[in-house]
């Protein structure tokens, strides 16, 4: 039996094609994935991401606990509402999950973790808390839903629907959030566009969804979410990295803070395990197919592998993220084996698209 978000009926009534996504019954599209993709780049799209899990980390030990559990340093979060992207690593330096950490005040942080890994993440945090005897409460918030509204007109549409929340929303700088009553409004996302992620009480989610669609936001499925994040050069857990992959080999070195003398989980392993690969983008340069995950790449310095690939609606070409031999550079020409045919591709530095523009 698949898990359902509070918006499940809403998706079905709108004619969504539903798929099993990590044990959740989720919409993959509502008709055309490509049109949904363009709606986000040009206007605004709406995503149900309630399968992701909000977890509150509270108590006097919250900050020190997260400084041990997370590879980036939450001590950087000084202004209330500030968000930080990072990974939780295992002792071997592999990625347990990637997550966002929000800081609201001393003793109150909030993390948002992936759907497929949520149970594992929460169990791991519990083990770590016990091991460290950390004075923290770890509270999975199954009572909350997450709706993302993304695109150049997202904030304007939100303001027309929620005038009382407009002032608080308009003050938000990118990568900041505000607690507004029992809502959290965050200027974050997974599309490469401006927009908001709204964390709302589950029972309110269908009303919020409906109101935002009436304001003009187009319902978008997980299909468009994947093409949008790939164009934006953002990693997907389980595809671009997992427990066997070091963040240094997944383009996530910028989310690992080695500057302070801070003993986070996985640090010792990372020190023993230098970077082994370049994590870069590929653009397919000749017709013949579509780049997908797990295709072999023949690069000037050896062999690599794609970790995610798709057809990019914005570029009108196929793109991929790939682990390539150390020393591979943007501009290099490579061959990708697409159904056993070697096709020419060019190495680029992600992102491919940002704020509607091809880079």
């Amino acid at each position: 039996m698949l898990a359902r978000t509070p918006l499940n009926e809403t998706h079905r009534a709108a004619g969504a094609r539903m798929v099993d996504f990590g044990g959740w019954d989720m919409p993959v599209h509502y008709g055309s994935q490509i049109e949904e993709h363009h709606a986000v780049r040009r206007e605004a799209g709406l995503f149900d991401v309630s399968h992701m899990r909000v977890v509150d980390i509270e108590g006097e030990g919250a900050r020190e606990f997260l400084r041990r559990a997370v590879a980036n340093d939450v001590a950087k979060l000084k202004a209330p509402g500030r968000a930080l992207y990072s990974c939780m690593l295992n002792e071997e330096g592999g990625v347990i999950d990637d997550l966002l950490v929000y800081y609201f005040r001393d003793y109150h942080y909030r993390v948002v973790v992936n759907a497929g890994t949520a149970a594992k993440d929460i169990a791991w945090m519990g083990i770590l808390r016990n091991r460290l005897a950390a004075p923290v409460h770890i509270t999975p918030r199954e009572d909350l839903s997450i709706i993302a509204i993304q695109g150049p007109r997202a904030r304007e549409m939100f303001a027309t629907v929620y005038p009382a929340r407009k002032a608080a929303m308009e003050q938000l700088a990118p990568f900041n959030a505000v607690l507004d009553g029992d809502w959290m409004v965050a200027r974050t996302g997974y599309t490469g566009e401006d927009g908001l992620e709204l964390v709302v009480p589950a029972k309110e989610a269908p009303f919020v969804w409906k109101a935002l669609t009436i304001a003009g936001a187009r319902p978008c499925g997980l299909g468009a979410r994947d093409t949008l994040r790939l164009e934006a050069g953002m990693n997907l857990y389980g595809q671009d990295m997992d427990e066997s992959v070091s963040p240094l080999d997944a383009g996530l070195a910028w989310t690992v803070d080695l500057s302070a003398d801070r003993d986070f989980i996985g640090r010792a392993a990372l020190a023993q395990r230098p970077r082994r690969a370049e994590f870069l983008g590929l653009v397919l340069e000749e017709p013949g197919g579509v780049l997908r995950a797990h295709q072999k790449v023949q690069a000037p310095l050896g062999e690599g592998e794609t970790t995610s690939g798709t057809f990019s609606p914005t570029l009108g070409k196929s793109i991929a993220l790939a682990r390539l031999p150390l020393g591979t550079l943007p501009g290099d020409s490579v061959k990708v084996l697409v159904r056993d045919k070697p096709l020419a591709a060019r190495v680029v530095k992600p992102p491919f698209v940002r704020h509607g523009k091809v880079l």
Binding site: V28, G223, P287, G288, G289, V290
Partner: protein
């Protein structure tokens, strides 16, 4: 399910239309395009290629997946629809108009033995349950 009665079908979701010259135009069904989602690449077999019935002869790729296309009958490919190379979305727009290739069957009666609309509808419904 949208299914023209004058076509024949395969369990692997191809349709075949008999032309006046005895060749068969082949495409994928509306059900198949709907399952695949937005189609972004079509590779059909080239004219002159001899194919066996059920042989994988080309590929259709959507944003989400790649899927082989099969020859419904044995014969020789006589034409490829070049338009789909630059406009693969035509398959989504009208799957039964978007022929991919034409084949001259080695057995002129082979077309008759393919599934009719009712038999295909049943086969497609059965395969969806799995």
């Amino acid at each position: 399910m949208k299914l023209p009665q004058d076509l024949r079908y395969t369990a692997s979701h191809e349709w075949a239309r008999r032309e006046s010259d005895g060749t068969l135009a082949v495409g994928i069904t509306d059900h198949a395009q709907e399952q695949l989602g937005d189609i972004v690449f079509v590779e059909a077999p080239q004219a002159g290629r001899k194919v066996a019935a059920g042989e994988a002869v080309g590929v259709v790729e959507s944003v989400k997946a790649a899927s082989d296309i099969y020859a419904p009958v044995a014969g020789e490919v006589v034409a490829t629809n070049a338009e789909l190379g630059s406009a693969p979305e035509k398959v989504n727009e009208d799957a039964f108009a978007a022929w991919m290739y034409r084949i001259r069957p080695s057995d002129p009666a082979a077309w008759e033995k393919l599934l009719d609309a009712a038999a295909y509808e049943k086969a497609a419904a059965d395969s969806q349950e799995h």
